[in-house]
């Protein structure tokens, strides 16, 4: 399993590194705002994070797309599946890397912002809960975006790759945009993720490699 995870990270190093770098960027920006901005620091901080979120979402979708499209185009699983592994394990390693990247990109900024809010703003429980909700939805939306990449990109058609990803990604973004960051959005995203993962698993384990 570790070999498969290592392969996924190395083969998609750019797509793994980019969201993590954006996550580091959010941390840096949060620290800058906390120490140097004087007016409405929390608003600036949250608004900036909000701008970076769609970029991150595209990045996560890109990671899923890169993993599946390069696999299909280069027939990687066709070789891997004849080694001492099963298709389920290949997919599990892939998803672990994707979800790991989402968490690695979003959890450290969330923790940093929580600490900064606690240190620099009045001790209101409202802020903490808000940040937790925003980042939980962001993580779920990130995983959903990643799953969209996985789901749509098991194809050899570049047109479908671009159009399908854009369409489903717009759906996820619109959902968050319209419904905000509440528990109902979390539930919908969670259902969306489970359904997509189920479909991806079924497609990947039964497809011709």
């Amino acid at each position: 399993m570790l070999t498969l995870i290592d392969r996924e990270i190395r083969d998609n190093s750019l797509c793994v590194a980019l969201p993590c770098l954006i996550g580091i960027g959010i941390i840096g920006f949060a620290i800058f705002v906390a120490f140097y901005a004087t007016m409405g620091s929390s608003e600036i901080l949250l608004a900036s994070s909000g701008i970076l979120m769609p970029v991150l979402l595209v990045g996560f979708c890109g990671l899923g797309a890169s993993q599946m499209y390069s696999d299909r185009a280069n027939r990687i699983s066709s070789l891997l599946a004849t080694q001492g592994v099963t298709r389920s394990r290949i997919l599990a390693a892939r998803v672990l890397v994707g979800v790991g990247t989402v968490l690695a990109s979003l959890v450290p900024p969330a923790v940093t912002i929580l600490i900064l809010l606690w240190a620099f703003l009045p001790p209101l429980s409202f802020y903490g809960r808000m940040v937790v909700e925003i980042f939980t939805v962001a993580i779920l939306a990130g995983v959903a975006g990643y799953c969209v990449g996985l789901l749509v990109s098991w194809t050899t058609s570049k047109a479908w790759l671009v159009m399908g990803n854009l369409l489903l990604l717009s759906l996820v973004t619109s959902l968050v945009w319209i419904k905000g960051f509440g528990p109902d959005v979390m539930a919908i995203l969670l259902l969306f993720i489970v359904a997509m993962l189920w479909h991806i698993w079924h497609t990947f384990t039964s497809a011709s490699l």
């Binding site: 027939r75 066709s78 070789l79 001492g84 394990r89 039964s206 011709s208």
Partner: protein, 304 residues
Amino acid sequence: MTDNPIVVENLVKYYEGRCVLDGVSFAVPRGCIYGLLGRNGSGKTTMIRILLGLEPPTRGRTVVLGQDSTQLSAKTHGRIGYVAEGHHLIQSYKVRRLIGLCKGLSLQWNDEFFGHLMETFRLPLDRKVKDLSAGMRAQLNLALAMAIDPELLILDDPTLGLDTVARRQFLELAIDVIQRQGRTILFSSHILADVERIADRIGVLVAGKLVVDCTLEELKSRVKKIRVIFPDQAPNDLYITEIVNQQKQGREMVLTVANWNPQKQAILETFRPESCTEIPMTLEDIFIECTRPASAVVPQESEV
């Protein structure tokens, strides 16, 4: 442990409405080198891909090392060495990295044997797979398949694209594997001389049907090519069953008959031929006769 590492039962495969495999059944006994022959598009690669679980069957069942092919475990996969037609290795990888990946995924890795193979083939470790020649890719694929000490080795046209020297090296390696007790090989090829040299059982696929499944010696003894000269014009029908091919020209008739026996000989004698001589056949001759569009099926052992 089953005595047949490969069992195929009534296998049917359709691709977009086209029947690629049509009720194929056979078994490969342990320690056997099974040569699977057939023309392009006869279904050899599809059959091998179904055996490895890379392709789902439409109907029927394939069992490899005691497990259904559609549900092969990682452990079973780890006991199978596979050399794919066209050697689909990961082209963007350097040789060293590909070796590392295959070694990491293997359940057992024979470093000594692999080192010996790499020395024999002299493969450059720092070159990308896509920059290797077809022959080098074939050698790398073979070395990777052999390094896991496979209980079952499946080779899909492995010598395709190899020069004569590399082909000879490959055959010697295959023989080396055979000598390791209990190893079973399923081997498809277009080069009949190679198959004739190492296979001890032959299967011939024609348009998705297995028309031959027997030992090489049996096949050679069962299919006979006979030149018959008649006193007058050769008759239109000899009333002999299982005629694979029949060519008539004036008084002369050349017959290829499956399962030649004294009864068929007696039927032929009733036409009082002037002479009746057997024409020696190589595996290639038999293959060509069997794969002609109108050829009869050579019944399998149980039917004889």
